[in-house]
Amino acid sequence: MSTENSDQTNLSEKKDFLVNSSSLKDVRSFSREVFEKFKINEDLREELVLAIAEAAQNIVKHAYKDYPDTQDRMAVRISCTDKELEISFFDKGKPVEKSKVKHRAIDDVKPGGLGTFFIQEIMDSIKFKEGDKPWINNLVLTKKL
């Protein structure tokens, strides 16, 4: 885990993980540690952990759908100011087709669709960007504090 800025009003922590479902518990542990360190409201923490874990899960399930044994890594960066939390995800998987990122029909419940719904419910904004090299995808989630 690396701290990019120690200024108390603009905190940032980043860590990378193997793109694999077994990494999801490590993503959650990292997120919980950071939220404890950033003193994020306890009622909000587990919701944010869920949103982060769902986004990481989407990388494993969709960006690397055809590469279950990849050795690639994904990175998660959590940044916090007094007013806003920004969570960025970086991966080198299949580029995201923004038009396909939506939750599914009500009678077709699957993890990807429900996970995206959870992210939309918890976070204030979701933006897909092209990642700066070496990354391909950069998902940015924000939440007002």
């Binding site: 479902s21 999801l24 769902e54 899960q57 399930k61 419940v109 429900l114 959870f118």
Partner: protein, 94 residues
């Protein structure tokens, strides 16, 4: 994930434990689905499940659908607060 199954006549109660995510979901299916396929009524006790994501919710939905196909049912009997919060959010979607 740890689990325990108790039997009482035709009811199997599955006590799940820990965190249920994409990595664990198939293990949970492997516990629940054979009970449903055997025609058991399945009660799920989730009081010791500290975290559940969309993969866990999907297991519950699939279990319910499978039980209907087998003319039996799946019921949630005890649910931890973190899981109840996720279920409440999922109900908006389901």
């Amino acid at each position: 994930m740890k689990f325990k199954v108790t039997e009482n006549e035709n009811i199997s109660t599955v006590f799940l434990n820990g965190e249920i995510d994409m990595d664990i979901a198939d293990n949970v299916r492997e516990v629940i689905f054979p009970l449903i396929d055997a025609g058991k009524e399945v009660h799920l006790n989730l009081k010791d499940v500290q975290y559940m994501d969309s993969s866990g919710i999907s297991v519950l939905v699939e279990s319910n659908q499978r039980a209907k196909e087998k003319n039996t049912k799946v019921e949630l009997k005890e649910v931890s607060q973190p899981v109840e919060k996720v279920l409440a959010m999922a109900r908006k979607f389901l």
